[in-house]
């Protein structure tokens, strides 16, 4: 066989195997799917923990703020109550003083 025949035989069009397309597509799909990463589950847990911590801090802070507001309001009411009783005390003292004075029929 001379060189011309060898070259013509090498370049001759050959029929592709019938399952070539399926095998190529299968290979593409296999390489496109992401490989499972190590530590994916622990990352999700960290996210949930972070969310839980934020919720806990928010609720705790709100509760603390609410308690402080209630205490401040209570202190204000107690101060007003103290003042109200003091004025009541003073008014009753005046009434007592007037009652203890002898009647003055001579006018003022």
């Amino acid at each position: 066989m001379n060189i011309d025949h060898e070259l013509r035989d090498a370049l001759r069009r050959k029929q592709a195997p019938p399952d070539l397309a399926d095998r190529v597509l299968a290979r593409i799909n296999t390489s496109a799917a992401p490989a499972p990463r190590a530590g994916h589950g622990s990352s999700m847990a960290m996210r949930w923990l972070a969310a839980a911590a934020i919720v806990t801090l928010t609720v705790g802070g709100a509760e603390r703020y609410y308690t402080q507001q209630k205490a401040a309001e209570a202190a204000r009411v107690q101060e007003e109550l103290r003042m109200a009783l003091q004025i009541t005390n003073d008014a009753l003292a005046v009434v007592q003083s007037k009652l203890s004075q002898p009647a003055d029929n001579g006018g003022r």
């Binding site: 209630k70 009411v77 009541t88 003292a93």
Partner: protein, 179 residues
């Protein structure tokens, strides 16, 4: 001329049942606030008393104070001092006193003095009773240049009120009231 009237507590017969409570409308006095040189206007509602009650210190006095606070239905105080001794008139006072003609109110103490130059003094104490139970008190002290009005709503027990005063740091004796 001074007129003094004391109605013995024993003569205060239980009033007929009334839907009204012992609260008076003190808003008629609001117009005096602008003229006053000193004023204290205190409005303590039942809700305020309820919210403050848990913060009262513990102990027997605290327990007594909490009980009083749970029973009271409100405390309303107006106290004014004026530079002008005629800054307010009897009409201003009467706007509030008119309400005391409602069923349930009984005058127990009254002291009235009128001067020649139109000045007047008036001290009065009224009790409100409903179904034979004390439901409120009204204290009025009107002097030239000075006006104090106190309306306490709810069952009044002066001994308990004194206990409340003790917890809040004011003198525990309430003068003028037999204990």
């Amino acid at each position: 001329m001074k007129t003094l009237t004391i109605v013995a507590f024993a003569l205060v017969i239980p009033a007929a049942a009334s839907a009204q409570d012992g609260r008076l409308n003190l808003s008629f006095l609001d117009r005096l606030a602008d003229r006053a040189t000193e004023k204290q206007e205190i409005t303590i509602t039942p809700e305020m008393l309820t919210s403050a009650s848990p913060f009262v210190p513990g102990g027997p006095k605290g327990d007594a104070a909490r009980q009083v606070m749970s029973e009271l239905r409100g405390i309303y105080v107006r106290s004014y001092e004026f530079d002008d001794p005629k800054a307010y008139s009897m009409d201003d006072v009467n706007a509030v006193r008119k309400q005391l003609s409602a069923p349930g109110w009984r005058k127990v103490i009254s002291n009235e003095e009128k001067g020649r130059n139109g000045e007047f003094e008036l001290q009065e104490i009224y009790f409100f009773q409903s179904d034979g139970k004390m439901g409120g008190i009204f204290i009025l002290n009107a002097e030239p240049g000075e006006l104090q009005v106190v309306n306490i709503v709810g069952p009044i027990d002066f001994a308990k009120l004194a206990a409340l005063g003790g917890v809040l740091g004011i003198p525990t004796n309430l003068p003028g009231i037999p204990r």
